[in-house]
Symmetry: D2
Subunit: 285 residues, 4 copies
């Protein structure tokens, strides 16, 4: 996890010579020490991806100054970029319905310090898990959703999310399909957990599908939500063996373990600025 | 692996009381010691599955006598059953094309004693791997296949397989779709390895499909071949993590490792009489 | 998980012919339907292990009658045995100190129905996790322990455990070594989670040891507590890859995930009567 | 795997500002395009590790010139470094005894193009596997070893290895302990596979030890050979689940699969210049 007094720069651009040098020179000019860096080039597509994690102690420039110079340098190379300082914690909204395993897990991880973020609110379409939000003293907002009010309720949710300056939405087994308006407000900033190893068993009741097909593995997929359901860029996938002894209830139980670990892994990668989306794929440094 | 002087009884029938007792009593009557036994009941479907692995040393009946009595007892309960003696090694034909990793692996495992079978012949549609069959002194038959001769060549293959009394066909990355005639000659006795975790990425070029989709796992599936391609009963599946660093070549390389391990696992389960097919699912004890 | 109206019989004895038949006949005599059964023979040691899971609906005997007949039959063969009815939930005491991940996990699993038991009390040497016991309304008893009062405090704990008719103690990262008196009161009924893949990294600070050694895997081991620390019969082990990028904090974090999954797996196996201890080894059916 | 027309630079030095920039500037000055790069800093120890994989097509300097300039630049920062061109294949000697699974595996991988190296000779203390070396037309030298001739035989082996300009020795289940003289001739250039997850089960017969202890996992460890047996820097570890059903023979069988995969993984990492040794630990980029 990003420790205090560090920053992370993510960038991508058409591949060309001198990209590393350009960034490294800019940073060293301000007396910045790079702690970790990874670079990847998709040679076929000709795209360059870069993550630089650096110490800001002793940095000989203000953060604004650094942002400004990066903007100039990145413009020169046609780079898309994002600079995050560890102290500026991302603000995460968790969406839940009635299943508790994923939200328990996220709140536990947050409590023990695994997730570098604030969780200022939880949104649900049901009252069921309010008691648990209360344990952690996190505001819990309920927007009951039915066919008629869905659009209207989502608009209220969006307003609330914006009021709270939310950076990332985590769908912790939220059992509603988000509308395009919601998704467009938070592009590549909504993480969903699907309870199968996509593209296998898209759609509803994947454990029932898996049971019917007699597979010997069950799994889960964490991905960014896109308008095209179950087709968003995959961030992480987990899997476990299954056998004829597993009833559907057993698959669901195994799934709970995989879902929460896989979702947490994706959320942590996002919070630590390790992910670059790229078409419908991801680079996860 | 089944050790010498043992036998394995596999059976299935509609669930009813007294099934275990019926089998156990029959065996103890002939002074037979059960070494391992597993039973599974599909409560929903009401089907009983049983595997009994026993010592034949000290058995107070001839094999024929035992077979006869089992036939009678099993008829009483509507049981389908199969009794195999470890000494009567199954006869396996390996089908290959040009990829060598699966056949190398099977022949190595056979040599070091992991597979309780004979491998009296290898069939291919190409000459390429003859040199390797020669190392192990296994007859290597080539039946080149094109659109026009496919039916005719398969008939020759079937005749050859029957001449060699083949019990099990292993498609070790054999790159031809078998016709229904072939499959019907060897029902639940042809094991294929598909290079994805079915039902994801059916059909051709699964690694390319996986790469395009940006998945974070690659895998393989060993299944019995059925007329409906890629829909046969799954025996074993394997999986490994992948990342953006993996080119298609890397996925293929990782796949080779998973394919051979998964195929060998399925073949071993079949040879040790651990599999009962059941609709398009399997019980693998 | 054992469903209602079922029972599980676990037994072991010197191997001899007719054991399966004896048990199967006794059960069928009372019109009992066996749902699942596994048998294992350690041929070298000559020991027979058996687990029978059966339906008690339609059983033509009282539970007492069945117990009595089993006692007689088992005496005949020198069998050690245990019969458990699913409705008679085991009573579990959780021991914790300050780490919350294992107890959170167990209580979540209990809540969603993964663990067939009652959890009537939690014992700790610290106040820290009382707030969480309160969420689930489970009595939380604190026995602060120091060098001088250890013996005396353990005696009080034992008395309390006996008062609550506790069947199983789960040490959910309880950071005290139990004395022999405690262990002797609950033979093979105390499950501990050690944060390494024993026998590697016994003793204190295993993640630090693992980091120093530069291993590429971290893991955890659930085992029955015995007088000989870290040498108890192993029930389950879990493992995950690590790399040079992992700091000690990362290893601890990965460890938390493995510990809770591994501990829960062991507890579930115990509750479902799937474990037979055998020297310092276990059979986990 | 490194593709043609690429080179890899590995370096380590005390951490200081400007290291990335220094290397990136040097490379861009010669019109070199970086394809992949990873950097890691051990903040506690204050050491910087760097791997740069770059395209040499269009490089505006001779290889000698590049080497010379790198030497100068690296001297300035106290860097230890190694530059490898993909075309200059490393020369690998495989050491074997009687177990065939690891050498089969390495030769198959070499044949299908997974290993970027030449394998000009195989050394053994037994004749047994000569037939297999013959299949691949690789010279096979036998040096029988007993207590009396060990030193003398090793000197001959060293002479032979030097005559063949061997860069890397792979001990593919070679059942002799190498003397310090051999190890000192090839520091961090001898890879061994130990058949347990070190530090568990050091020494002889680890599968027997694992069986006796009743562990639920078996594994293998690939490490650089050092004078202190089983204590060399670990490169890769693999693991698989085991149960009471596994006899020692089963553990050995499972071990064979893990050993060959783990050994191959380590060898590939070495050949692709992904490993930096560091005390008794490794960085594997």
């Amino acid at each position: 996890m990003s420790r205090p007094n560090t920053a992370t720069l993510l960038l991508r651009c058409p591949d060309q010579k001198g990209l590393n040098a350009a960034i490294a020179n800019l940073l060293v000019r301000h007396n910045i020490n790079i702690l970790d860096a990874q670079q990847h080039t998709d040679e076929e597509a000709g795209i360059f991806f870069h993550r630089v994690y650096f110490d800001v102690v002793g940095m000989a420039a203000s953060r604004d100054q650094l942002q400004k110079e990066l903007a100039e340098e990145c413009a020169r190379y046609g780079m898309e970029w994002r600079l995050s300082f560890a102290e500026q914690k991302k603000r995460v909204a968790i969406f839940v319905s009635k299943y508790e395993h994923c939200i328990y897990d996220l709140l536990l991880r947050h409590k023990v310090g695994e997730l570098n973020c604030d969780i200022p609110l939880i949104i649900s379409n049901h009252e069921d898990l309010r008691y648990f939000a209360d344990v952690f003293k996190i505001p819990y907002f309920v927007f009951p959703i039915n066919k008629d009010n869905k659009h209207e309720q989502e608009l209220k949710e969006i307003a609330l999310l914006q009021e709270y300056n939310i950076d990332l939405i985590v769908m912790a087994r939220y059992m509603q399909v988000l509308s395009d308006s919601m998704i467009n407000c938070f592009p590549n900033r909504i993480i969903n957990i699907h309870h199968s190893t996509l593209p296998a068993f898209k759609g509803a009741k994947p454990y029932h599908q898996a049971f019917e097909r007699g597979v010997k593995l069950v799994g889960a997929t964490a991905h960014y939500a896109t308008a095209d359901l179950d087709e968003g860029p995959i961030i992480a996938q987990g899997v476990e063996g299954s056998s004829h002894e597993d009833t559907i209830e057993d698959l669901v139980r195994k799934g709970r373990d995989i879902e929460r670990v896989t979702l947490a892994q994706a959320v942590r990668a996002h919070l630590d600025d390790k992910i670059i989306v790229y078409g419908h794929r991801t680079i996860v440094f």
